[in-house]
Amino acid sequence: MIRRKSLPISRRAALTALGAGATLAALFPQARPLRAAPAPAKYFIGVYMPHGMAREFWVPKPGFQIAYEGSSLAPFDDAATYGRSFRDQIVALEGLDLTAGLRASTVGHDASRVILTGSGTDGQNASIDQFLAVEQGLGQATPLSSLVLGVGSANPALQWCISYAKGGTALPKIINPLATFRHAFGQFLVDPDPAAVARAQREQRLGKSLLDYWTADLAELSARAPRTERDKLDQHATALRELEKRVLGQAVTCAVPLQPDSTLFPQVSSYQGGEPYFEVISNLQIDLMVQALACGVTHISTLFLADLSRTHFDASLPEDVHTDVAHRYASPGRSGSGGDPASQLLLARQNHYTYGKIARILQRLSEAGLLEQTVLVAMSDMGDPSKHSSRQVPTLLAGGWGGALRAGRHIDLGAEGTPSNRLLVSVQQAFGVESDSYGQSRDPSILSGTLALT
């Protein structure tokens, strides 16, 4: 039988039952109060939202009202469902274009790639999460440098990924909560039986010898590989260091949660029968992600959320959200009037669902006392999905950003379109990175500048 290993336990103490029905109190029984004073940003969460955004039901009304009829942002002001209102913890940021993608034919669905990289397919830089975790060393001290999660699709194609390693290769996502649990917490599971402890110690010794062997082999290969292959082999070296942390064991600051009950999600993949379980899978992925942050397993995570197609969670939505909601969305855009309000409302329901999941992230972060030090960015690959437009993409910022974000407001950058690279520059500066540009483009003018967020 597997039991929780005795580990140094913080004031946050034991994280216990994990499952679809787990209560907040059970998950974070000794949550700390929010910090009184700002501290530097410490945690980063990037979230992908599917299917573009219905601007008509996204723009807050005067006085930053976000709970009006049909509003997709309403979950952030729904204390009954999410424990408290997060209205004062979010910014509705309007006017960003995924400009680097527009300059490099990385648009429409493929613009997912641009969200955190600030680059089209012509760029080879890492996404901001990996830049912070690997290149800036924020993930060096934690067992995992980052945790890249998804719901529904493990597809590594552009349109399904927001996390990219230096060199430009998409990082694989974990879409099964059981795999997430094992990846994040598996190393801390030990059987207290003396024979099992002896086996674990032996395995640690053998594992270390394997790592030494592989590291030497990789160094030999790197020495004779051409420069063009360096990023790839550096990524391998990073993976070896990460595995070493796992093999050698590293203390975490809370007890290990219980393993998710996989009978709750017999299928996990889109088109393979996983859709009915996306609700429980999304919730588990979110809970495990925040628990991993709270336990110090990692400080950096991304989450690629699924849409409502074929889930049948919302009877008012058609089965095929992609064709019958996103493609049918009819909007006049920022300046005009008209369009089809019914189609706008349908897309807003999809957006509302996704924001509900992000509200859950904020709820968990709040309970764990991490909200003030968290930088959360949530974005879709499109603004108007019927036009497959990567312009004017409504963006959600949340968390305290370590004091680098004045929240509770709507920021409108204007109709002309501001490169999303500026958001990424602001993100890196919230983590103390001094550089004033982010991303790669044949048009370097789009890479620099920050947003006025404080």
Binding site: Q235, H236, S270
Partner: protein
């Protein structure tokens, strides 16, 4: 593969050695060369190699994250070893080695009874296993290092424990995970010729998707693979092995984008029970590809317009035929299906959930079979606008209205006029004669080999493509892309040009093109780093 199919592979392959065209490695380097790369093997290649160490029952690919793709090919230079893959590989190989059966053929006979201190047997075992994992003979230093692992695990335990750690070490080693094509300098400055070990490994992975067998390793170690004709002979031999079948299935599926079928649903208003049908669709295409490669050397014409298919029972009703003997050829020409473009796998992949997709189907034909490129609308400053629903109009009528826009027409006149020829197939690939109560129009046109051809439907299109020189040239480019793991226009063009002198049999079949490539200098040489 059945015995008769195996024989066909063999017969065709042996009759296949005439009409060579590509420059071979008797002399110097080609004018254009591929770049030297360190390529992480695809999960299918990793699994095939792992099976030589662990036995044929191992399913390593399923334990790893899916492959990154370039131009849809899983064999590509973008693959990397990230933390998730390495962690999952670590866990999987630990599981695989928990109960090794040392009586299996990959281990020396001494391993069954050897004691932990039996260094000679350990060394013999390591030599065999490392030769399989590294796809070459290990050096004495490498054997010594692996002996260190063996000793660490065997001490205080048993021989099997030592072997288990060696196997884990091998399956996590960069020498197993990566295939290098770096070359070694022949004369400075200039391109480099692949080393003997690289030639053996690359030849086997490219032609059979498997690690090199003993005969190939021996030929490589003797330096025989420096000769293009020797590489060709070895490739012909490898093609007779049934294991190579999976590689060509994968190649065709990736070339035509059919791997996307797994990630598709169809509206219940179009068809019910699609997930089960989807498996039958994949099975049909796999069996068909096996047949065309096994009996006709991967004839491009047969793939496109062979006039037959091999239809699984589960798909018979969908096609409107009576179930036939499993594996038997069925003539579907009378039902509007003459080749792979009319198979349900292609038609369903390039369609939306609830309706056909003339743009996707047209683009698939033009980009994948003719190697044409099209700008994205946003590159031209055009927003993509999906034609609005209209229950009183056919899909063609809706799309025709949308493409009437003078800005859109530039590309859509080309794309849609090819896609419209498939309009007698719905979103799932079912034959239909009308839509929205209106008659269908399947006429279209295509610019092929310099001529604008008006055509009646996709059957006529397939026939035209089957005899097109432009399609054959694109097929040759696809072989280079697959082999190189990336797009390299200069090498692709040079290879295509070299085929002018090749026999029609070589130019018109994929196996002919693979053989021409492996014997050419483009296979054997790389740019200087």
């Amino acid at each position: 593969m059945t015995r008769s199919q195996l024989a066909c592979w063999s017969l065709l392959a042996l009759s296949f050695g005439c009409g060579s065209a590509s420059p071979t490695s008797a002399g110097g380097a080609p004018d254009h060369s591929l770049a030297p790369v360190v390529r992480r093997l695809s999960t299918a290649e990793l699994e095939a190699t792992a099976r030589t160490l662990l036995g044929s029952g191992v399913t390593l690919a399923a334990a790893l994250p899916p492959d990154a793709r370039q131009s849809d090919y899983s064999r590509n230079v973008a693959q990397s070893v990230d933390s998730l893959l390495l962690g999952q590989l670590f866990d999987a190989t630990r599981g695989f080695t928990e109960a090794l059966d040392l009586s299996q053929a990959q281990f020396p006979s001494c391993a069954q009874t050897a004691l932990a201190a039996d260094r000679d047997c350990a060394e013999a075992t390591i030599n065999l296993l490392a030769r399989a994992a590294f796809r070459r003979s290990p050096s004495s230093l490498e054997v010594e290092q692996l002996l260190g692992l063996f000793t660490l695990a065997a001490e205080g335990a048993d021989f099997e424990s030592g072997v288990a750690l060696v196997v884990r070490g091998l399956l996590g080693s960069p020498k197993f995970l990566y295939a290098t094509t770096l070359g070694q300098r022949e004369s400075a400055p200039g391109p480099n010729r692949l080393s003997n070990d690289e030639l053996g490994s690359e030849l086997s992975l490219l032609i059979s998707g498997q690690p090199p067998d003993e005969a190939l390793l021996v030929a490589a170690s003797r330096g025989e693979l420096a000769s293009g004709s020797e590489r060709e002979q070895q490739a012909l031999r490898l093609l007779q092995q049934p294991q190579s079948r999976g590689l060509y299935r994968r190649f065709v599926q990736e070339w035509l984008g059919l791997i996307g079928l797994d990630g598709l649903a169809k509206s219940s208003q179009v068809i019910s029970g699609f997930p089960a049908l989807r498996e039958a669709m994949v099975s049909e295409t796999s069996q068909f590809v096996d047949d065309v490669f096994g009996r006709q050397a991967g004839s491009v014409a047969a793939l496109l317009a062979g006039g037959y298919s091999i239809v699984p029972g589960a798909l018979a009703g969908f096609y409107g035929i009576v179930p036939t003997t499993p594996g038997a050829r069925v003539n579907l020409s009378g039902l509007g299906r003459v080749g792979i473009l009319q198979q349900a796998s292609f038609l369903a992949t390039f369609a939306h959930e609830s309706e056909s997709a003339p743009v996707l189907r047209g683009k698939a034909v033009l980009t994948r079979l003719l190697c044409l490129d099209f700008p994205k609308p946003t590159d031209l400053g055009i927003d993509i606008v999906f034609p609005p629903a209209d229950p009183g109009a056919t899909t063609r009528e809706r799309f025709a209205r949308h493409a009437a826009d003078s800005v859109c027409r530039g590309c859509h006149a080309t794309l849609d006029s090819v896609g419209f020829m498939f309009e007698n197939f719905d979103a799932a690939g079912q034959l239909r004669t009308s839509e929205s109560g209106r008659a269908l129009d399947t006429t279209g046109s295509i610019l092929l080999d310099g001529h604008q051809l008006p055509l009646a439907d996709s059957v006529a299109l397939s026939s035209a493509l089957a005899s097109s020189e432009q399609v054959r040239k694109c097929a040759a480019r696809q072989v280079v892309r697959f082999a190189a793991g990336k797009t390299d226009d200069a090498v692709e063009q040079a290879f295509v040009d070299s085929l002018e002198a090749a026999s029609a049999e070589r130019r018109g079949t994929f196996l002919g093109l693979f053989l021409e490539f492996v014997k050419s200098d483009w296979f054997a040489w790389r740019k200087s780093p």
